[in-house]
Amino acid sequence: MSTLKKKQGFGAVLWDYLTTVDHKKIAILYLLGGGFFFVLGGIEAMLIRVQLMIPNNDIMSGGVYNEIMTMHGTTMIFLAAMPLLFALMNAVVPLQIGARDVAFPFLNSLGFWLFLFGGIFLNLSWFLGGAPDAGWTSYASLSLHSEGHGIDFYVLGLQIAGIGTLIAGINFLATIINMRAPGMTYMRLPLFTWTTFVASALILFAFPPLTVGIALLMLDRLFGTSFFNPELGGNTIIWEHLFWIFGHPEVYILVLPAFGIFSEIIPVFARKRLFGYSSMVFATVLIGFLGFMVWAHHMFTTGLGPVANAIFAVATMAIAVPTGIKIFNWLLTAWGGSIKFTTPMLYAISFIPSFVMGGVTGVMLAAAPADYQFHDTYFVVAHFHYVIIGGVVFAILAGAHYWWPKMFGKMLSEALGKITFVLFFIGFHLTFFIQHWLGLWGMPRRVFTYLPNQGFDMANLISSIGAVFMAAAVIILVINIIVTTAKGEKVGSDPWHDGRTLEWAVSSPPPEYNFKQLPLVRGLDALWIEKRAGKQSMTAAEPLQDVHMPNGSILPFIMSLGLFISAFGFMYRTEFAWGLPVILIGLGITLFMMLLRSVIDDHGYHIHKEELMDDDDKGVKA
């Protein structure tokens, strides 16, 4: 199979992407899917802010507002932020460790298609009777009684997407454990890979409680059980525990890779190595561990009692310590460096104060007695948007700009990128800064309107204006992407010129097989070491030989489709006779594809070393 680029028709490209198991193409798929849902979640946000712009507004009813608010949160966390982070992890991590692909390429594809079908299923609710409306947390008192099928879409859609996430987490863990290039010890891993590793461990342990929780909610709603229904002995607190035992680690799953992205960007654009590498690794692991010990800070007002509240309050505050270590390390990295204010660096520099603001309000919320005042007000909304947008969204935008040339071979326009940054930064602070005060003045969250003359009017208007800025920023970003794709100049392997890690040692985009010969890693910042020694490329760790590559497969697409089909059966089982057959057909399709995968031998194919030798300019160049 030749590695020369053939001009391909649309059908061929479509089939290529439907069947690909290549981590680089799967990264692009996650970017497209996550990007699409990010825009959807953004539209939902705009609708919220339009409704809340003035008091007593009636653009939408309370019921519709509840659906939009629920879908905004659910979409942004599960269908936008996580997939976009997976896009960057897929694009970058195998290259950073000097590997040719992830440990399980087939499962990598399956993870993506499960996410996509789960997300589509959830959003079909808009057209099929109404979206879920009990908040992204779907507490099982309200969600048990929610009429219509909205919550069922939530339960089934997230279950499908969640399996995909779990698969992806296991994949990255196995890849990082087993497939590092020679010389790449754990303490020579780039920080983005370390944070991917710890976040993947969090995924492994945090998603099962969510799986159980939404399965039990499904059983209660669709199969008549009584886990959460007190009439027959159930208890609603069980849902809260299960959800938050997942939900708290989930936010660390989001923010740790964000930290990793900034740990890559700041050293490159300060031309100075990361300060305190070992403590950064230690802090990452500690944040991951502590992340499992604090979930009940979301439940301070439920009546856990003072002892439990105190324990969880102290544990929550403790997480600020390793986080603070990271902040100081980033500052000390930039201090004394030769700083280049590129678009990624602008996001990185503005992330530091923005995220810290979110972090300190987090410590305020962690004080359990104070939380009795903050809980369910806009103060909480302000806090989590500061850490999620100031942390995760800034990181995704920064990472997209930083690694765009590696993924697509072209640099995004710096001029348009800076305009996006300025608009987004202004809009973000305009929308959310004032919300701290709204909360302290007493405006509750999750309300579809408010009465005039309580002191909320001007603040809500300002908040809504900020949303317009953010929308404009995203539009400019989309224009940037379109213009770059149409007319951008092709770039070489190290377009930022100061790359320190292995992904900048291969061409942009990399060849199918990533590395002609696996590189020999001599220390931290493996490529930088070679550059400092005056070399043009990485030393090879193996002789030139045939490269073994996996075959593509349409099975992951069909497996995900099977679960998607069966979900309709689960939902309509009690109303339509076709419910049970559809469940069986859908599950049958999935199980049969699993059987096919098991019994059909698929040994992949080889790229012969003669073809590798022909490939110019695709070696490991500095």
């Binding site: 342990f205 607190i237 525990h241 009940a296 439990a308």
Partner: protein, 109 residues
């Protein structure tokens, strides 16, 4: 215990390996006997009239010991090359323990 050397040399001493495997199998059968014993003790304790306050912690301890035999012997967690599996399994056990602890202390009616 079992010879897990991945020497790449195709002519390793077959008789030696067979002996090592058989010795490992003997350990496995002894473990099995002990597991049956632990199970019997647990059932007998419940059948007897030892009070609840002794029985419950005792049978839980027996369960933990039996699971340790499964993990370390049947599943080879005691052998070389199991550092990462051990780390991740114990991490899972930690999260599991915290979850169960929360549910038996922090749920009320």
């Amino acid at each position: 215990m079992v010879n897990n050397e991945n020497r790449g040399n195709p002519k390793t001493d077959l008789a030696y390996r067979k002996k090592k495997n058989a010795e490992d199998m003997r350990y496995q059968v002894i473990s099995f006997g002990l597991m049956i014993g632990l199970t019997l003790v647990a059932f007998l304790t419940v059948a007897s009239d030892a009070g609840v306050w002794f029985t419950v912690p005792f049978i839980l301890l027996l369960a933990v010991i039996q699971v340790a035999f499964q993990l370390y012997y049947f599943m080879h967690m005691s052998q070389r090359g199991h550092e990462a599996p051990t780390l991740f399994l114990y991490s899972g056990v930690l999260v599991a323990f915290v979850t169960v602890l929360a549910f038996v202390t922090l749920i009320w009616w």
